[in-house]
Symmetry: C2
């Protein structure tokens, strides 16, 4: 894929949001995004995510964007904001260019009004309250397709193989 | 839809899992499931979910299944278990009958081996570790379609309307 996908997570509070942000990061990675940026580094989230990258491979990265406003204004690709108040994702997805890098803004608590104006699209996955993890998953699933979920990853140590019962894991170590 | 969809959440620990289980419940509701059962009632989860149902409508419910083994053995419809070790969801979804009630088993920590044997299908949304919220969303999305996400809900007090910028909410109160 030529397009890189970056997730900008607003307002991560380390104590309260640790597990949800970890789910956001792992979902972003599994569904084909390249990186997640959050306000400040969280060592617990980082440890869990880096451990998954070490074992399951690929080049997914975590980074910091302490000033979301400056970051969003300087962003040169396409930008969408996931919010239940946006346009239907089925209408927006065909409008997202595949030859520009994509930023997906994910709110936590209350999102400042300015965010709605600084992006190209405000996009809703359904019109009901649910979860930023679910919304991100479906948006990336529609953008990247189901093949992204099972694409081989570089430098993986292990790979899970599909199985009707139980667990089958293949070890890919060179050793 | 004639088929009812029930989510069985294994191993909810009230302190640690409150927010993730809330996301599971709201995702289940938004994507067209009918109920979530967990080991014991959690008043914080219940308050949040019931508040959403009161305002946004529909008949979604929470319940308890203190003994998952007995529940699973007595289940008379189709049953799938979401696990990264399962068969690809793209292969399983066409095999799920639409004229039988469906149970979706969602693990938390380590899932007992017995679960893998008591269901009709073990199903993986991708072969990477991510989030039970994301996996549930994509499975229900594939089963129920995107229309389920915007279907009108009975007795809703408010409805969110799609909007390019900002928030548009319609009040549906009879008063």
């Amino acid at each position: 894929m030529s397009r890189e996908v970056t997730i900008l997570r607003l307002g991560h509070r380390p104590d309260r949001d640790k597990r949800l942000t970890t789910h956001v990061c792992l979902t972003a990675r599994a569904f084909g995004a390249d990186r997640v940026l959050f306000p400040r580094s969280d060592s617990a989230v980082r440890r869990t995510v880096e451990d998954v990258v070490d074992r399951f491979g690929g080049t997914f990265e975590l980074g910091e964007a302490p000033n979301w406003r400056a970051f969003l204004k300087a962003w040169e690709g396409h930008a969408v904001h996931l919010t239940m108040y946006g346009e239907h994702h089925t209408d927006v997805v065909p409008e997202v260019p595949d030859d520009e890098d994509l930023l997906v803004v994910l709110g936590a608590e209350k999102v400042p009004r300015e965010v709605y104006d600084l992006v190209d699209h405000n996009v809703a996955v359904g019109d009901q309250p649910h979860s930023e993890v679910a919304a991100l998953a479906v948006l990336l699933y529609e953008l990247n397709g189901s093949d992204a979920l099972t694409a081989p990853r570089e430098d993986a140590e292990i790979r899970v193989l599909p199985s009707a019962r139980g667990k089958r894991v293949s070890s890919l170590d060179d050793a």
